[in-house]
Symmetry: C2
Subunit: 313 residues, 2 copies
């Protein structure tokens, strides 16, 4: 096993990834970050891939084809955002059940999301498939990449936006209800935090990860990679309107950024972030010596639910 | 529609791609080559993505999980070979039905194929899926990229290896027979023609494409992109042992290279290629003024079957 692979937090999904890294041996390269970093001549490339699958990540009754494409592209761009990267382009593999308008409609959504962050659709593949498959590979540059490794004891722990909306929307869809317009839009068209990630990188972020598995799990990955402990104050976690904190910390596919910032970074800087990015930045905890993630609620230790595991469903 | 997109040959699949390019509008970038080319600082990146799907591209009864991974990686690397590119790494999205050994076994095959051409597995995504999905994105550099556009009237038309083995293997599997060991190996572990593509690029190849849709279709794409006609002598097409020429020219997923070479490139150079690459290089025709692909059999015009269309099955 390549020693350069990053440590990950607990959970069955991550045991499965560890088994893959082990089998790859020397043919694997520094696995386990949001993006792979690749030096090409004088540039540092940051690349990532993200698979969205009908019946697992979405259902057709929930979203328009264009929304399906937009959300899949945003999910992939979120990994680049977490590296502080700048997108160059996307490659998209598409599987669709019929030869009609579905593929062009999905790709129109991918293109709309790409355009929002100044990226281009560079190419792709198209295949017949019973269920819709949208796999998006994002290629960007990261002149100052921020990895999961690098957080220092004493750093503050910050999160963009508010959490829990994705789970609320999912709960509504799964129980056959239509979520509010705000929630439906949050679910279908999450804003890629590309500009936010670059801002945090420029301000000296020491480590960063995007919230795709849920805050609990992703904080665990960051702590494991950086070989320290994270303390999170549950009452400080910014929650989507109507979401309990225990829901917010377990909600996956949020595509917000979790960043560790040096101690000098404070509320004044967070205010500047909010003004420039149009989204909140909230301090929810700290980095300390140790391992794992500890949650407290107004000073009292609490247990929180882990994220969502597709294979365990 | 972006004028920089390449023209493609005839066929329902390519009408579908044209519909996608149209919907992408300005968010699409120079679509339609084997690889997308991307200038990053002083480097020219060549990137491509290739989706392999259980039930469409392979069945589990036909191949081991490691073979499934190897073949999917080779398919993606073939696009880079056709650009004359040098691989840097692969990203792999994987969908598997269970959390057992399947994913590590498939990735071991991907890793083995990557190792054969000096590439690394950089990262990926893992999702639950009823059917196996292996989507491979290849990232490389192409200091002297060879595109589908660029062939000149008077150039010779050359093909690596021999064609038709893939269709013979497929026919055997589909009728419940076990192909010969040679054919089974050809089907499961096609050699990525990376070194061959670089050799042809260095020798001045004016245009190149890999044979994934079948010689008939891929020659049509090259002719359309280069805005000229191709004349192919059917009796010169190198056929896999037991494959008729009419089978060989329609056989898809061959992953051999079809290249146009300047007139000065002749049998002596082809002999040098064969000695260095361990595979044949055969002249099968010429580039002439006009459009489309014309086949002759010992001087007599013949009609040949088109390639395979997943959606038309």
């Amino acid at each position: 096993m390549n020693d350069a692979h990053l440590a990950m937090g607990a959970g069955g999904e991550f045991d499965r990834l560890r088994a893959i890294y082990e089998r790859l041996g020397d043919s694997g390269h520094a696995l386990g970050d949001d993006c792979a970093l690749l030096g090409v001549q004088n540039a540092t490339l940051a690349v990532s891939i993200d698979l969205s699958l009908e019946g697992v990540h979405f259902r057709r009754e929930w979203m328009s084809p264009a929304d399906i494409g937009y959300r899949a592209a945003s999910a992939a761009l979120s990994d680049l955002a977490a590296e502080g990267g700048r997108p160059a382009g996307l490659l998209v593999s598409l599987g669709v059940p019929d030869a009609g308008e579905l593929a062009p409609d999905i790709m129109a959504g991918v293109g709309a999301c790409a355009a929002e962050v100044g990226a281009k659709v560079l190419g792709g593949d198209l295949t017949h498939s019973d269920r819709i498959i949208v796999d998006v590979c994002v290629i960007g540059t990261a002149p100052r990449p921020v990895r999961r490794i690098g957080a220092q004891a004493g750093d503050g722990l910050w999160v963009t936006g508010s959490l829990g909306g994705m789970r609320l929307a999912l709960n509504a869809y799964r129980s056959g209800r239509r979520p509010t317009d705000d929630l439906a839009r949050r679910f279908a068209r999450p804003t890629p935090r590309i500009a936010a990630g670059q801002w945090l990188a420029a301000q000296g972020a020491t480590a960063m990860i995007d919230i795709s598995d849920g805050l609990t799990s992703d904080a665990g990955h960051l702590a494991a990679a950086s070989r320290l402990a994270l303390e999170v104050a549950l009452e400080r976690v910014p929650c989507w309107l109507g979401a309990e904190p225990l829901v917010a910390v377990a909600s996956g596919e949020e595509y917000e950024l979790l960043a560790t910032m040096p101690a000098r970074f404070g509320e004044k800087q967070a205010q500047a972030f909010a003004e420039q990015q149009g989204v909140a930045l909230t301090r929810i905890g700290s980095c300390v010596v140790g391992s794992g993630v500890r949650f407290t609620d107004r000073g009292v230790a609490v247990r929180v639910p882990a994220g969502y595991d597709h294979f365990a469903e």
